[in-house]
């Protein structure tokens, strides 16, 4: 599927891109969480990780359905998720980073994302786009729980044993370079902000940063220096992992294009 965007107005195009960014973040992070299934460190955590995965999947479905309507090319949620190529995916790089069978990586990735996602969904409650505001009204409750869950684990692991402290600090140092992309402004984001549809990305930074500081302090972890930040995912420039995610995720839909499931 190549997005057939010829008939959209520039406003619709920007909204469509914006929705894909939101939806793809949820799809890809949900996929990474799903990879833990049956392999979490403790049964309660299998349940909790699936819970977060399910919430994100639900958010993705609402957003993608709406995106398909905005696009107006007859693509439903599955068409957008299962038939779109990697360079049309708009998720931030953070969420596609692999689990490495390392719970510390999963938790740090989740925490950096949740702290941002919470601010984003809270801001979207005020969206001038009624549909997005309605989605946010449901999402914000879920995301509140996600952030609590990942924050608690940051604290447990950071202020646990010296091994766990070392592992979570290492994961934090490693993934920090993907945090900058969350706050990048570009034409799409500016247009959404101007129209009152979404918050300006930079407007979320102060609250995010405060959450991070507060949790890291309680977790006795050091906040990494802001070095060079990786970016590109939101414009379709991904790392090498996404292709493998999609090969797996999309296989059945690609192999049996005429089937309904």
């Amino acid at each position: 599927m190549t997005a057939d965007t010829e008939k959209m107005t520039p406003e619709q195009q920007a909204l469509f891109d914006y929705l894909l960014r939101l939806g793809d973040n949820a799809v890809v992070l949900s996929h990474r969480l799903g990879e833990w299934c049956g392999h979490a460190p403790v049964l309660e955590e299998d349940i909790a990780l699936i819970n977060v995965a399910l919430d994100l999947l639900g958010q993705a479905r609402s957003i993608m359905t709406y995106a398909g309507e905005v696009e107006g090319a007859g693509h439903d949620e599955d068409a957008l998720v299962y038939r779109r190529d990697g360079f049309d995916y708009r998720n931030v790089l953070l969420v596609e980073q692999p689990n490495e069978e390392n719970f510390a990586v999963a938790i740090v990735r989740q925490f950096l994302f949740d702290a941002w996602h919470y601010e984003l969904q809270t801001a979207l409650l005020q969206s001038s786009d009624a549909r997005l505001a309605a989605i946010a009204a449901k999402s914000v409750k879920e995301v509140t729980y996600h952030l609590r869950h990942s924050s608690e684990w940051m604290v447990r692991l950071g202020d646990g044993t010296s091994e766990s402290h070392g592992r979570v600090q290492e994961a934090l140092d490693d993934l920090w370079r993907f945090s900058g992309e969350l706050f990048e402004a570009d034409a799409v984001e500016e247009r959404m902000a101007a129209a009152g549809i979404g918050p300006h990305p930079q407007s979320l930074y102060a609250a995010w940063s405060e959450t991070v500081d507060r949790v890291l302090a309680e977790a006795t972890l050091s906040r990494p220096e802001d070095g060079w930040m990786q970016s590109g995912g939101r414009n379709g420039r991904h790392g090498e992992h996404l292709g493998f995610i999609l090969a797996e995720m999309q296989f059945l839909q690609r192999a049996y294009p005429d089937a309904r499931w």
Binding site: P41, D46, G160, T161
Partner: protein, 317 residues
């Protein structure tokens, strides 16, 4: 003894035994074995289904599958809790599983190789499980009986979902129908084996029946499952992989072919297609999660110590 007599009288009167009640050691042991096997089965059963989460063919199906597996993890938790009321810790039970000393349902030693297997597992495996579990809602041990009531309700939802996946495939393209038939071929016999040996080869059953831990015999349950499932397969337009299967108007039941008990034995002995993979996966998850569990314990301990220190400080003021 008098205790035993009163215990059995209570059971005979269909009253529930509760954790603080006196019970014979044999009753306790049998229950621990049975409930923990059931708990382990829920946990190991997450693996063949989890295998398809990342490849589920639509978002709706993916969500349903995630939710189902989440339920199974939840069932594992209730059942471990029910077991803990019998004075055995979850840690001991999990260790028994990981060391290969405890059993889990042998059906989970078969691989899930196509999406249709997710349908077949729901339809047949959950279907057989419900058949086994419905009578256990009336089990004499209170905590187990109550866990079963909750579990059965969720399982029958899963079973309907599985059947609906099969129906979609069976009504789908030729490739989908072939996938569905293939899954039925592979899962049918193992699901019949889920009811255990024939009654004549199942020596433990009599005592369990008296204790009302087991309430219906293996062969009766199996027959009931066959009777319920064959018409469902017909409705799907799929063929049962058993040439001996036919309706017996005289008995009012379906006759069916002989189960390959050698295969059953081999799977129980660890030689099923996936026994090693399942145990390897569980052991790896356990090993890789060790530092996390240790951290959680250490942190909880630190909090307790800090809270205690604070209390002392406040008291001293």
């Amino acid at each position: 003894s008098e205790l035993e007599r009163r215990f059995q009288a209570k059971i005979d009167a269909d009253e529930k035994i509760e954790p603080k009640d006196w019970m014979p050691e044999g009753y306790r042991k049998t229950l621990v074995r049975q409930i923990s096997q059931h708990a382990h089965s829920e946990v190991v059963g997450m693996l063949p289904e989890g295998n398809w989460i990342t490849r589920a063919p639509s978002l709706r199906r993916k969500a349903a599958l995630l939710a189902k597996i989440q339920d199974e993890a939840g069932h594992g938790l209730y059942l471990y809790s029910a077991c803990e009321t019998l004075n055995v810790s979850r840690q001991e039970l999990v260790d028994q599983l990981l060391e290969g000393k405890a059993k889990y349902s042998s059906i989970f030693n078969y691989p899930s190789t196509t999406w249709a297997d997710i349908g077949a597992i729901g339809w047949l495996v959950d279907g057989a499980a419900i058949m086994n579990q419905v009578p256990l809602q009336r089990c004499s041990y209170g905590p187990y009986s109550r866990a079963m009531i909750r579990i059965c309700k969720e399982e029958s939802f899963h079973q309907r979902q599985g059947y609906e996946i099969m129906l979609t495939l069976a009504r789908g393209t030729a490739a989908q129908k072939r996938m569905a038939q293939d899954a039925l071929n592979r899962w049918w016999w193992p699901s019949l084996m889920m009811f255990g040996p024939n009654d004549k080869d199942s020596p433990h059953s009599a005592q369990s029946m008296r204790w009302k831990i087991k309430r219906v015999s293996n062969d009766e349950l199996r027959q009931k499952f066959v009777d319920v499932t064959v018409p469902q397969a017909d409705f799907l337009g799929l063929t049962m992989p058993d040439p001996a299967l036919r309706w017996n108007a005289g008995s009012g039941h379906y006759d069916f072919g002989e189960i390959d008990w050698e295969e059953f034995k081999q799977v129980l002995q660890g030689n099923g297609p996936c026994n090693r993979e399942r145990m390897r996966d569980r052991n790896r998850a356990h090993e890789r999660g060790r530092w996390v569990r240790e951290a959680a314990l250490a942190h909880a301990e630190k909090r307790r110590a800090r809270a205690a220190a604070q209390t002392t400080a406040v008291a001293a003021e």
